[in-house]
């Protein structure tokens, strides 16, 4: 945290925090808290996020792999067998990779995949992360922190969570926008009114940051079925309209907020009797692209924060998938 030279009463995020946030690196709780309430830092964070998205977009647009070729310099001792083989195997892997990744950045990849019909097994390995399994299906029951989901192949899977596990929820959940709630609104504006495309309820979450929207942070007032008034920290009141097409994202939901019938993706460790002890759960209340949705999510590594980010990103996927 830094002090803004222009106004030392208010500490602001320092450059390291902003860069780390844009890079998807961990930032401290104090920094996150500050970001949630500081418009100045939110603007700065958005600028850095845009720069980071630009870099990642270029990386994703790069050709999938270097073409296999022999080193050219004469006189080099080249282990031709393993060298050629490495390149060829990598080329094959890259070809498979592009099918899995779809769109999105590619920076050290493992994959969490939310698929439609066709999944045959209850638990599947998360590519690139040994010992981490995933399950996806339709939510049938919620018993406290325990979920029962049914996979596309009809198998029931019990997913256990604890209060410390990451749970996200998204969909047309307008009833979750209530007076006093802290929200981040993304949408198009005209005549001083925002037509909300995405409303993030609760603390901001960097994974829910699709390009093309300028987020506005504030508190909900006068909530109704047609919209609400967004009150910014400076007291400005902005009318916001919502509709059935508005995607509501709750990055830090409780299992009890997950709706029966929602599509669930859970990631964690395989437990006894085919259960999954989840470390992260994402719920999508309504898939916009129909039952054959396939969402592939990038994960920087197998760390919990990366897994959380990936599942959080799923919350915003239906907005772009539809």
């Amino acid at each position: 945290m830094n002090a803004d030279p222009a106004d030392t009463r208010y500490p602001h995020l320092d450059l390291g925090d902003l860069i780390a946030g844009a890079a998807g690196q961990p930032v401290g709780d104090r920094a996150r808290e500050h970001l949630a309430s500081c418009e100045h830092c939110q603007r700065e964070a958005n600028r850095w996020n845009l720069v980071a998205d630009g870099v990642r977009g270029l990386a994703a647009a790069a050709p999938e792999t270097a073409q296999p070729a022999r080193p050219r310099r004469a006189g080099r001792r080249v282990p031709a067998g393993p060298w050629r083989r490495a390149l060829l195997v990598a080329g094959s892997a890259a070809a498979a990779l592009v099918l899995l990744v779809g769109v999105g950045a590619a920076t050290g990849l493992v994959h969490v995949r939310l698929s439609g019909p066709g999944t045959q097994t209850a638990l599947t390995a998360v590519t690139g992360c040994s010992q981490i399994e995933q399950a996806d299906g339709t939510l049938e029951q919620v018993n406290g922190g325990s979920l029962v989901i049914r996979t596309a192949s009809g198998q029931p899977v019990t997913v256990t969570t604890t209060a410390t596990r990451f749970v996200s929820m998204s969909g047309p959940l307008l009833s979750d926008i209530t007076d006093g709630a802290s929200v981040m609104v993304r949408g198009s504006g005209s005549d001083g009114t925002i037509q909300a495309a995405i409303v993030t309820v609760g603390q901001p979450f960097s994974a829910v940051n699709p390009a093309g929207f300028v987020p506005v942070q504030g508190t909900v007032a006068d909530a109704s079925t047609a919209g609400f008034t967004l009150v910014t920290s400076s007291g400005t009141r902005i009318p916001v309209t919502t509709s059935g097409a508005t995607l509501v994202v709750i990055p830090h939901a409780s299992p009890g907020q997950l709706q029966v019938g929602a599509t669930i993706l859970a990631v964690g460790h395989a437990g006894p009797d085919g259960t999954l002890s989840a470390t992260a759960v994402a719920g999508v209340a309504q898939l916009r692209s129909g039952p054959r949705l396939r969402v592939s999510v990038k994960v920087k590594d197998c760390s919990p924060s990366s897994i959380d980010e990936a599942l959080g990103a799923i919350s915003a996927e239906p907005a772009s998938a539809g």
């Binding site: 450059l15 390291g16 860069i19 780390a20 890079a23 998807g24 690196q25 961990p26 709780d29 996150r32 808290e33 603007r43 700065e44 600028r47 850095w48 845009l50 720069v51 630009g54 870099v55 977009g57 270029l58 990386a59 790069a62 050709p63 999938e64 792999t65 270097a66 070729a69 080193p71 050219r72 080249v78 282990p79 067998g81 393993p82 060298w83 083989r85 490495a86 390149l87 195997v89 990598a90 890259a94 990779l97 590619a106 920076t107 050290g108 992360c129 040994s130 010992q131 209060a163 410390t164 596990r165 603390q203 992260a280 920087k300 590594d301 197998c302 760390s303 919990p304 924060s305 897994i307």
Partner: protein, 200 residues
């Protein structure tokens, strides 16, 4: 703000899976001549290294050659990896040296330290507004037009999955200098976007 999953979840996950250990094990096997390990290493890191080199050089064929040379260097030097840095930053540092050598041969420089070292990081000024108005596609195009040194630090910070200390290690400069270099890169990006906006 209550956000417990990052800390508590970390203990759960890292206890069961540590990619750094996997990478180190891969390097140990490569050092023993394990071809499968070399292939696995390439799958794990090849694309990221290639994307970074391509971002800096802007030339696909050259980037491919540099990545090949980098992987060859990994094959030869895997046994010397001492674990003082992450494997990702180690291999990217190798790629950076390979890139520098190649570009030096063309009388070009990847990083003009004299130019960059004292570039001040700018706070949000009028030029920052260009970034506020920019679309992602415009930002990508503008990044391509930046100096190689700016593209390099942006790629390392945002495209390679490295932390700031790791970026500092690759560039062999202090973390504070990485920050100021990133700020200078963003200022240059703002300027480019601003110029493009004025020309529209």
């Amino acid at each position: 703000m209550n956000d417990p999953h990052h800390d508590l979840g970390a203990a759960t996950f890292t206890a069961s899976h540590d990619p750094a250990c996997d990478d180190a094990e891969l390097l140990r096997r490569i050092g023993q001549g394990d071809e499968d390990a070399m292939a696995a290493f390439y799958r794990e890191h090849g694309r990221v290294v290639f994307a970074q080199v391509l971002l800096v050089t802007g030339e696909r064929v050259l980037a491919e050659e540099i990545v090949q040379d980098t992987m060859l260097a990994v094959w030869r030097a895997a046994g010397s990896f001492r674990g003082e840095s992450s494997v990702r930053s180690w291999v990217i540092a190798i790629a950076r040296r390979q890139t520098r050598d190649r570009l030096r041969g063309r009388r070009l420089r990847v990083v003009d330290d004299a130019f960059l070292a004292d570039q001040p990081g700018s706070g949000p000024g009028p030029e920052a507004m260009a970034l506020d108005r920019a679309e992602l596609a415009e930002v990508r195009a503008a990044i391509r037009e930046l100096a190689a040194a700016h593209r390099e630090v942006l790629g390392l910070a945002f495209g390679s999955g490295l932390s700031l200390p790791e970026v500092a290690g690759v560039l062999e400069i202090p973390v504070g200098t990485v920050k100021s270099r990133l700020a200078a890169a963003r200022t240059a990006l703002n300027r480019t976007l601003n110029e493009k906006g004025q020309n529209r």
